[in-house]
């Protein structure tokens, strides 16, 4: 009987020990690493970031310990120039962050982890003293009252590839307003062309000459560095849906049908692909303010994410400048035969 009792004691003790093991382990772990916040990354369908909201005092370092529970994710904070952190499934990686200014920061996944990748975002609220960052100006599309959701196809289009270098030779004929930055921001290439066409002083120029001038104007408001920045941002963040060549056939969209009409209009029947930018009418009818607005606000109901909390205004400008390349480069080098 003594043996039987001993056997029972052994079984019960072993089971109790095993059941307590995870709890004891977790407790000891917290004792040795008290100030570390564990951050779990999952596909948005399974919960996204956990926690998704973090509050921290400005100036106080916070150590985050990342791990992924499914696929490879990436961590970056919008508008901050910090290297992204790669998070591998089951592995742990730590990073210590210090925020100097109070405010709201959005962090996001930088890997195309799944179809809802862009929903994988969270917020860091930085509270406390320190100079509050100057509030960003109201986006131009709101100032100008542009409706982002109406179709904006260009009514007219160049017959051949517009050449800014040919345009440069004619630039002295341009009216003064055409050189202003606000004109560039608030006009689409097509609407600027129409304004120029209506100028009596430019009656002597043919239609193609005017397009060369418009292309020259567009080039004046960007720089090779900005184009390079825009191209990089596009490849990292936009190409997944819009496609590397802007045709709306990115890896995340291949199963969807092309948009039914001339615009990327929401239907309640589900999403379609983004518009095909190799059709120049799509972008030549859009002003930089409109495109920047779409990037900032996102496409209502289209699945297009809002990038306002993530890109700086300079980054958005660079991106918009890069987007026009899709339209200009899609034009035929020689005039279309009609």
């Amino acid at each position: 009987m003594k043996h039987e009792h001993l056997a029972r004691v052994i079984i019960v003790t072993l089971l109790a020990l095993v059941l307590a093991l995870p709890v004891i382990g977790k407790f000891l772990w917290h004792l040795s690493y008290p100030a570390v916040l564990e951050m779990h990354a999952r596909l948005p369908e399974s919960g996204g970031w956990s926690p998704s909201t973090i509050t921290v005092r400005s100036g106080q370092p916070i150590t985050l310990r990342f791990t992924s529970e499914d696929v490879v994710h990436g961590f970056a904070i919008g508008k901050l120039n910090q290297p992204e952190i790669e998070i591998l499934p089951g592995e742990f990686v730590e990073a210590t962050l210090t925020f100097s200014a109070p405010g709201t920061y959005t962090f996001y996944c930088t890997r195309w982890c799944g179809p809802n990748h862009w929903r994988m975002r969270g917020v860091i609220n930085v509270i406390g003293d320190g100079s509050t960052p100057t509030p960003e100006p109201t986006p131009l599309y709101l100032v100008l009252g542009i409706d982002l959701d109406t179709p904006h196809r260009a009514e007219i289009m160049p017959h051949r590839m517009a050449d800014p270098q040919r345009g440069a030779k004619l630039k002295d004929r341009l009216p003064a307003y055409a050189l202003e930055h606000t004109t560039y921001l608030s006009n689409s290439p097509a609407s600027l062309w129409m304004r120029l066409r209506a100028e009596p002083s430019l009656q002597v120029l043919n239609d193609d000459d005017l397009w060369d001038l418009v292309a020259w104007v567009w080039e004046q408001h960007t720089s090779p560095q900005a184009i390079a920045t825009g191209q990089k941002l596009y490849a990292q963040n936009c190409a997944a849906c819009h496609g590397e060549t802007g045709q709306g056939d990115g890896v995340m969209m291949r199963d969807l049908s092309p948009p039914p009409s001339d615009n990327h209009i929401t239907t309640y029947n589900g999403h379609t692909r983004p518009p095909d930018w190799s059709d120049p009418r799509q972008l030549l009818g859009a002003s930089p303010a409109l495109l920047a607005g779409k990037v900032t606000r996102g496409g209502m109901g289209t699945g297009m994410p809002y990038w306002g909390p993530i890109f700086t205004p300079e980054q958005i400008d660079a991106l918009v400048a890069y987007l026009y390349r899709f339209a200009w480069n899609a034009l035929p080098e020689h005039p279309l035969k009609r």
Partner: protein, 427 residues
């Protein structure tokens, strides 16, 4: 030493603790399979050890230390270490309808069907283990003896089938002594419902050694016989056993294709349960397991039977040639396991260092990056195993046949299957 219950008990108690920890870690730990103790220790360590060592060397030795029925047996016998005696808690007899291998066949097909997800998702593994644990405990409260182990456990079915080939066997020293002993103590204490003096096959003997301990004359002992000694007779094989053996052949091949084959897409299809592609996979799996392979075997038996002059009933013929399926099945599973384990065994140490995938580093090995590779040694061993299985099956086929002509269809079956496995594993 075998008469003392202590060594076996201590081993079982430790394994029970490990088993409970496995379930816990499946539920609480990281859901990334490669970083969870439950996945790595159940499907890489235990499952491989079972197929490479326990079964071929020890038959049902695993059953003798399996922790799953322990709580049920405790409740049944009102004690862990005491002699079982005649059943202290009267249980019902297991229903006649299910006194066969059909439930284990069903269980094994089910596990194979959902294998891709059971083998990779820690939570699913934990659910399966917990389910088996609860089922075993519940059944021991209703039915007598180890009803779950004997008639339900899918792993038990698998082990029992190949235990026929393994060396350990319980045998009686002096049969005349048993004939005179009217009390049949050994039968009364046997959790597996076996009567040792009449034991013709090791298939259903759990090697728990209770008979050895209960025999008042010390007339029972554990012996070792040559490997495959039971083969030509394969006594007491039923149609259910033959079907189980065929299922084993098919699942060994399918698992090789899914887990080791160059078709990565197949693994992802097997994983996306419910998708249209998965339904195609599921249907082909069932078709292959339940129809095509059994039909091929039936055809082979039909031809062999035509050639044989003396005719049995067809059902008896199906059973008669069944033993040829055992060696090729066991060696195929061993070869598959060898290939699987040699590429995955490097996961073992990191997961011991961090069993729950919570980033612990108990042994300082957490960041040892697993490097899976197949060595030429392992490939040679796989070839050797498959060849050995084929040879043993051929020998069995020859012994079962009256003429060389009769054995030709059987040899064709053995050659076809071995060739497929060789191609899948090495080709």
């Amino acid at each position: 030493m075998l008469r003392s219950r202590w060594p076996q008990f201590i081993l079982r108690a430790l394994i029970l603790a490990g088993f409970i920890f496995t379930i816990l870690s499946g539920f609480l730990g990281s859901q990334v399979g490669s970083h969870n103790f439950a996945i790595i220790f159940v499907w890489i360590a235990w499952w491989s050890a079972l197929k490479l060592f326990f079964i071929p060397l020890g038959g049902r030795t695993w059953c003798s230390i399996c922790p799953i029925p322990l709580p049920g047996e405790w409740l049944q016998n009102k004690g862990i270490l005491r002699s079982r005696g005649p059943q202290t808690r009267p249980g019902k007899r297991w229903p006649r309808l299910w006194r066969n291998a059909w439930l284990p066949v069903f269980g094994f097909v089910l596990v194979g069907w959902f294998g891709a997800i059971i083998l990779t998702a820690p939570r699913v593994t934990a659910f399966v283990l917990l389910g088996l644990f609860l089922l075993a405990t519940m059944l021991s409260l209703i039915y007598e003896r180890r009803a779950f182990c004997r008639h339900v456990c899918p792993v038990g079915g698998f082990i029992g089938l190949y235990a026929r080939l393994a060396p350990p066997v319980i045998s009686v020293n002096e049969p005349s002594l048993c004939a005179l002993h009217t009390k049949k103590t050994c039968y009364e204490v046997c959790p597996w419902e076996q009567y040792p003096p009449a034991l013709k096959t090791s298939a259903n003997c759990g090697l728990c050694l209770e008979c050895l301990r209960a025999c008042p004359y010390n007339n029972i002992s554990l012996r070792l016989r040559p490997w495959g000694a039971e083969l030509p007779l394969a006594a007491k094989m039923g149609l259910d056993d033959v079907f189980l053996a065929l299922t084993m052949l098919t699942t060994a091949a399918i698992d090789t294709v899914i887990f080791l084959g160059p078709w990565g897409i197949l693994k992802s299809v097997a994983y996306t349960i419910g998708s249209p592609a998965w339904w195609i996979f599921a249907a082909s799996f069932l078709l292959l397991t339940l129809v095509i392979v059994p039909a091929f075997y039936t055809l082979v038996v039909w031809v062999a039977e035509r050639i044989r002059k003396e005719r049995f009933s067809f059902k008896r013929s199906l059973v008669y040639y069944g033993p040829i399926l055992l060696p090729i099945g066991l060696t195929s599973w061993m070869a598959f396991t060898l290939a699987f384990a040699s590429t995955k065994s490097s996961y073992l140490l990191p997961v011991l260092s961090d069993p729950l995938g919570w980033g612990w580093n108990l042994l300082g090995l957490t960041n040892h990056l697993p490097t899976g590779q197949t060595s030429s040694f392992s490939l040679a061993l796989q070839t050797l195993l498959l060849a050995g299985g084929a040879m043993s099956a051929t020998e069995t086929a020859r012994k079962l046949s009256r003429s060389t002509r009769e054995s030709i269809p059987l040899l064709a079956f053995i050659a076809t299957y071995t060739w497929i496995m060789l191609w899948l594993l090495l080709g």
